[in-house]
């Protein structure tokens, strides 16, 4: 069983009251291998070979009220399985979880009224009808009284600037427009917990930015607890203070964005813009791993030595501009995914998510 043991830093808006508690949560699927070829297919009708795939391997997690947690991981890491378990869509093989004090897979109405799930790759609005019709249905299902419904709908619609889309059939909307309306529908009943499964997948930069602003605003205003799964570091950087990195059904890292840099990198990236392309031998003599791109030199320097060595570098190279940055988060996380994959014990790749 792989447990998360890293220290955790809560978002500043967290209140210390646990809303989500997960202990040793595991999900296994039995999958049937489909043999290749006609003869093997016929044989397989009578003697199917199956194997057990571990989508989640005993995950532990605690999320407090008001936290905005990002869950990052490669395809098949178990992120969506985790959200499906917390939403009560599927039942676990082992382990326990409570969300807002309820066991999700008991699927009580009281619990289901208090959270929402938005899946970027699934459409939950009525396809052939305008979103306004889906909202009306939502009002009935969640028993939202009319004044509250109208107030919330108008507020959300104005924040996302989608009023003109309300009466257009959903099938005629762009992906970005549809996702905005999916979010409005999900938030109409003012859920205390929101699960977002890759909400920005396939969206252009403008739509992504618009969703980031909206989600940040609504989360802060309502003190909503949010878990977001994503592949995009932009989502994480724009929205979350806490990051959970998952690979092969296990949590590799659970902590703050700042800590991940400190914990997993020992150097900073120093970029020098020079007057002219440098002499490679002179750059080599500096003694740091480097990359030369025309007049630009990129050095990887131990973070503890930056203050000592930088003045010397700046004096000797005809430097026009300099920047000192942390290693990009994408690079750190990609490295974690790679090392996590090689560290895997029994190869549960391709797990259903």
């Amino acid at each position: 069983m792989h447990n998360s043991s890293q220290p955790r830093t809560n978002a500043s808006s967290a209140t210390g009251e646990p809303v989500i508690e997960v202990r040793g949560l595991a999900k296994e699927y039995r999958v049937f291998d489909k043999p290749e070829g006609l003869l093997a297919s016929v044989t397989g009708l009578f003697n199917r070979k199956s194997r057990v795939v571990e989508a989640l391997r005993g995950v532990n997690l605690q999320v407090e009220k008001g936290e905005f947690v990002a869950m990052l991981g490669p395809n098949g890491a178990g992120k969506t399985t985790f959200l499906k378990l917390l939403s009560g869509i599927i039942t676990p093989t082992r382990g326990a979880a409570t969300v807002l004090g309820s066991v999700p897979w008991e699927r009580t109405d009281d619990f289901r009224r208090r959270f929402a799930l938005v899946m970027g790759q699934r459409n939950q609005l009525w396809w052939d009808l305008p979103a306004a019709e889906s909202f009306r249905l939502h009002k009935e299902i969640y028993r939202i009284d009319t004044p509250r419904f109208e107030r919330t709908r108008d507020e959300l619609v104005d924040l996302l600037d989608v009023r003109k889309l309300l009466l257009r059939p959903v099938r005629d909307l762009s992906l970005g427009e549809r996702m905005k309306l999916e979010l409005v529908a999900a938030l109409l009943h003012e859920p205390e917990v929101l699960f977002l499964d890759e909400p920005t997948i396939g969206l252009d930069v403008v739509a992504q930015h618009s969703l980031h602003r909206f989600l940040a605003h609504v989360q802060a205003e309502r003190q909503m607890t949010v878990i977001l799964t994503t592949h995009y570091m932009k989502d994480v950087a724009a929205l979350c203070k806490r990051l959970v990195v998952v690979t092969e059904g296990s949590i590799l890292y659970d902590g703050s964005l700042e800590q991940i840099v400190d914990r997993f990198t020992s150097h900073k990236i120093v970029t020098l813009d020079l007057d002219a392309p440098p002499d490679p031998a002179a750059i080599d003599r500096l003694g740091f791993p480097c990359e030369i791109r025309g007049p630009q030199v990129i050095l990887r320097i131990d973070r503890t030595r930056i203050a000592d060595v930088l003045p010397g570098i700046l004096r000797g190279q005809g430097v026009r501009d300099v920047s000192v940055e942390d290693v990009p988060l994408e690079e750190i996380v990609a490295e974690m995914f790679r090392s996590g994959s090689t560290a895997g014990t029994d190869g549960a790749t391709g797990a259903p998510r």
């Binding site: 869509i89 289901r112 299902i141």
Partner: protein, 272 residues
């Protein structure tokens, strides 16, 4: 309960709005369905040019038999309109993971799965059935007993409940299988048995088939009992049949509920 009625009305409204969006499709569905019914009725009329009765001494002469056919049309149209579209869609929802969206809503999942799509064009057959029944009743050899008139709607509801239970159990099989595109075909084969008077199932093959379709899969009770009550004289046997049908309907609902809930607990959801 009122909440569920209100939600059903909201579904109905949304489905009607959608049907009106695709008006040509709606009209075409009504015409196709009515055309199929007209062919069936023509076939039965043809049969009655050769014989005065379906099975000698059974009482299924022309007017009672058309009351039987009308009852079948009414019951089937209710099931086809209210439950079949949603059940058929479940197959696709399981395959694509669309069922996830239903399971997170604070409503009974079976209600949502069964009734979120309503096919208004299927009511066309029911209206024809009501018309046919209105034509047949004054032509019956004897007018229906007042008790029979009271029992008839109850027995129609029981027939709908039995068929609904079969639909939902077939749909639940989808959750286990992951894909079940033969749902509608299987439904058609099963309901075919209910479309004719039980008396035709006799002899060395017919007898066991009748017993199977009465006591195991009570498909023969669905149309036969309400039709017999309205179209034929009430006898001592009728009381047994009515009680049996009510019991079968209740048992079918309980069993189908158990089957559906047990299937849901095994739901794997599709990969995204």
């Amino acid at each position: 309960m009122t909440r569920y009625v209100s939600i059903l009305l909201t579904f109905a409204r949304a489905c009607l709005v959608r049907d009106m969006t695709f008006r040509a499709n709606f009209v075409l569905e009504c015409v196709t369905s009515l055309g199929w019914m007209a062919m069936n009725l023509a076939f039965y009329l043809l049969v009655f040019t050769f014989t005065p009765e379906i099975g000698l001494g059974t009482g299924w002469t022309k007017a009672p038999f058309f009351a039987f056919v009308a009852t079948g049309m009414i019951i089937n149209s209710i099931v086809q309109a209210l439950f079949m579209p949603s059940a058929e869609e479940l197959t696709e929802m399981v395959r694509t993971g669309g069922l996830d969206g239903i399971l997170v809503q604070p409503l009974d999942a079976q209600f949502l799965v069964s009734m979120h799509r309503i096919d208004f064009s299927a009511f066309a057959n029911g209206l024809v059935g009501v018309g046919l029944l209105a034509w047949a009743i004054p032509r019956l050899p004897q007018p229906p007993h007042p008790v029979a008139i009271l029992l008839y709607p109850l027995l129609v509801v029981c027939g709908v409940a039995i068929l609904y239970s079969l639909v939902i159990m077939l749909a639940a099989a989808t959750i286990h299988l992951g894909r079940n595109q033969s749902l509608y075909d299987f439904w058609f084969y099963l309901t075919n048995f209910s479309r004719y008077p039980a008396e035709i199932y006799s002899g060395p093959w017919g007898g066991p088939l009748r017993a199977l379709c009465t006591f195991v899969i009570p498909i023969l009770l669905v149309v036969n009992v309400p039709a017999r009550v309205i179209a034929q004289p009430l006898t001592g046997q009728a009381g047994m049949m009515v009680a049996g049908t009510v019991f079968a309907a209740a048992a079918a609902l309980v069993i189908s509920r158990w089957v559906f809930q047990s299937a849901l607990s095994k739901y794997r959801s599709a990969s995204s």
